[in-house]
Each structure stands twice: as structure tokens, then as C-alpha cells.
Amino acid sequence: MERAIEILAVIQLTVIGLSHIVHHRAWAEFFIWLRGKGDTGVFGNGLLSLTAGSLIFSFHQVWSGIPLVVTVFGLLNILKAAICFLFPARAMRSMQRVSLERSREFVAAGAFSLAIAAVVAYGLLRTA
């Protein structure tokens, strides 16, 4: 089951990460649209993180080696969801920082996602 979750994480991180790099302006537009929806957008953002985070963390509790990266990634997603659900004003302020002019920040986020995906994929291949 842990391997399946690691494969799931690699797929998600690669697709979303690559998209962040190639279409950074579209992602900025997405978050600007989401914040335009007010509380609906904040909770929608939280639900996306909660689904990924709770799925990863509950089915993947490995606390050593390369797989630890996936566990921590799951925990961070739950933390982000908790901020959205329990401190929505704080989450909204974070979304308000997004602008089309600064959309290149999503390139960095995408590169970080791809780096995590590469590390996890390396761990998967090493134990294949």
C-alpha cells in the first residue's frame, strides 16, 4: 500500500509541478479566480489539500528514509487544509498575494514539486 501511495504522489507532483512551470500565469489566474469566490474559494482550496493530505498520511506512515518525504508532504497538506478551515482569513490573505505580475513564483513551486517527485521516484526505483 505504501508503494501505491508513493506512486500516486509521484504522479500528482509531476503533473501539477510541470503544469505550474509551463502554465504559471494560468495557475495565478486560477488562484485569483478562487479568491474571488470568497469563503467558497478558501474552503474549496482547503478541500483539495485535505483530500490529498488525508489520503497520503493515513495510508503512508513511513518515518525513515526517502519515503519519509511523502509522509511529510501528506502532513503539510493537512496543515494547509487546517489553516483554510480553521483560519480562513489567514488563508485568504495568502491567496491575496497572488498576482499575474508575480506569477513566476509558481515556477519555483513547480520546480520544488518536481524535485520531490524525482526523489520519491528514485526511492521507488531503488527498491523495485
Binding site: 469566490k37 488525508s54 495510508f59 478551515f85 480553521l86 480562513p88
Partner: protein, 131 residues
Amino acid sequence: MTRALEMFAVIQLALVGLSHVVHHRRWAAFFIGLRGPGYGGVFVHGFLSLGFGAMIVAFHRVWSGMPLVLTIVGVLYLMKTAQCFLLPGVSLRSLERVTLERSRVFIGVGVLFLAIALATTIDLVRGIPTM
């Protein structure tokens, strides 16, 4: 597998339940926003319920004791999903009943979520093997 699914449900129910209690007006605003796009919002609502319900029913088919509560929650979520996708008009009318003035009904829902999360947690803790 069943324990992992129970943990998955506890995380979701505890966080969303607590948020329903603390931010009931914001959840009312969330559902008011969701009904704005009409059937589009109903289908988004359906997809959210489908993800949670399908996970429970697929990985947690326990039909006795305390865990039965969670299995029933999963089945109820799938029924809600079916209503969203097969009878979207009924679901839209249900969304239209949400108002900011009556947002306190979400506190009741939140307390129910927290109670289910607590019952499932007790079951999880009981199931931990002793040394």
C-alpha cells in the same frame, strides 16, 4: 487497510467538523457560493461527496460494532452523491435552503462529524496491539 481508512475519515471529519462549528457562517457562504453556478455547483458538491463516500465503501466494509457507524456514513455519502448526479434539481433546492441567518444549523452538522470522529478514534485506539 481498514485502520488506515478509519484514520483518513477521522482527519477529514475532525477538521471539517471543527470548522463547521467555529465558522458556521463561512460554511453557509460556501454553500451559497456553490449554488451560484446552478447544476455546476451541484455536481461539484457531488464530486466532493463521491470522493469521501467511495473511499469509505471501497476500503471499509465493516458491518458490526463501532466501525459500522463509519460504514453507514460512507453509504449515506454515496446516496447523497447519487442524489446530486441523478436528481440535481432536488440537490439544488436543498442548497437553496441555506441562508446566512440560519447558518447555525452547520454547528449541529459539525458536532455530528466530531462525534463520529471521536467514536472512530476510540475504536482505533482500542485496536492498537499492546506490548
